[in-house]
Symmetry: C2
Subunit: 232 residues, 2 copies
């Protein structure tokens, strides 16, 4: 019988600044990290290449990408035909649920992380969600993360057998974007590998105008750090 390994973690990794920093924190806390990315028909597929580079740079044990078909349900600017909004003010970004919201995305991602955790006997899942800058996403809130954790421990073999308890970590939950940039620098995340834009050019150049670009720019500015991806 495989005994659960108390220091293995599944790290959800989009290739963006937030998930890269979340992975770096898991590594700093001593976890062996198993990274999980999703190919879900997102417009910004360059994310997946970014994720692979970030996983390697931060010493992940392995990196798996699972194909899922969120487009079957439509409903988001990130997967469907709705335009990605541009040049919105910070207050507009912070209010309401944005059209880039993908229905139940984090629930689906965490569910796959749970399957992966059960297979490799991981005791933790790390997710780079943040309730400050993305307050409009319901599945980025602490009460959602706690409810998922409770459900997860009832869903699995290890939960039933009592061999391990799964914890869901959202270490960026209460950080501002500037805090996240500082943390990433402190932990040695190669910022040039991280990718945030919702609507990049064919060569991967950030658009500079979508909500993700605007929040990233402000975060770097507030942290007093130069963004290696910014236009010169």
């Amino acid at each position: 019988m495989n005994l659960p390994s108390p220091n293995r973690a599944i790290c959800l990794l989009s290739g963006g600044l937030d998930s890269a920093t979340s992975l770096a924190i898991a590594r700093q806390e001593g976890y062996e990290c198993y990274c999980l990315s999703f190919d879900y028909g997102q417009r910004h597929r360059i994310e997946l290449q970014a994720a692979a580079r970030v996983a390697e740079q931060l010493g992940a044990i392995e990196h798996r990408t699972v194909q899922i078909d969120l487009r079957a349900f439509g409903g988001s600017a990130l997967t469907g035909d709705i335009d990605v909004p541009k040049q919105r003010s910070e207050s507009a970004i912070g209010s309401g649920i944005p059209v880039t919201y993908v229905p139940a995305r984090n629930t689906i991602f965490l569910s796959f992380a749970l399957a992966y955790a059960e297979v490799v006997q991981a005791s933790a899942v790390f997710i780079g969600v943040n309730a400050i800058d993305y307050s409009g996403y319901p599945d980025c809130r602490p009460e959602f993360i706690r409810a998922f954790e409770t459900m997860a421990n009832l869903a699995t073999k290890t939960g039933v057998e009592g061999t391990t308890h799964l914890t869901v970590h959202a270490p960026l939950m209460k950080l501002t974007k500037a805090d996240i940039v500082r943390k990433a620098v402190e932990l040695g995340v190669e910022l040039r590998f991280t990718h945030s834009c919702y609507d990049p050019g064919a060569d991967g150049t950030p658009c500079g105008a979508c909500d993700a670009c605007i929040l990233r720019q402000k975060g770097f500015e507030d942290a007093g750090v130069a963004d290696p991806l910014a236009a010169p």
Copy 2:
């Protein structure tokens, strides 16, 4: 703005006897049913054809099949290279977690149902899980279903906006297989369309020896109903 439709339900539909009966119950309760099946690399792909026939027979509004890649994680006789166990006794079937358990499968299925519910503004999800004959599956227990429901209402836009409350229905939870057969007959489910075997022949003939076949046979016998799929 779309108002939620209080009588729409997402019905998870594998094409087996249980999910077909669960769908029939949703229809009886007056729901407009949106059926959801998964192509997850299962050995028994004939399930998907069965699901399509069942959805049509029971008057579903639509039937979508989502491709997901559970094989990426291995770990089950239904998706991997482990042999499907045969000729086990009922007591052996009822004890422990079987190798046909797919890690986090119902969590993943319900998460996709949640996304679908949000898109079509459904207020209910129906799942044909059963805690009597499949007591070994952690994600078939009532406490799991309730925890998922709690999490789901924190995960979604409609939950946050308070426009609707999602309920997760598991109407077969406390029924024996014989009860399910009787209920299916009562509600007019075409039993010849339902498919239960974990390891059918190339032409779809049930093996007659896997856990699912054994439980199905016993259910039909106990209910005093002839199984149209049984060998003559």
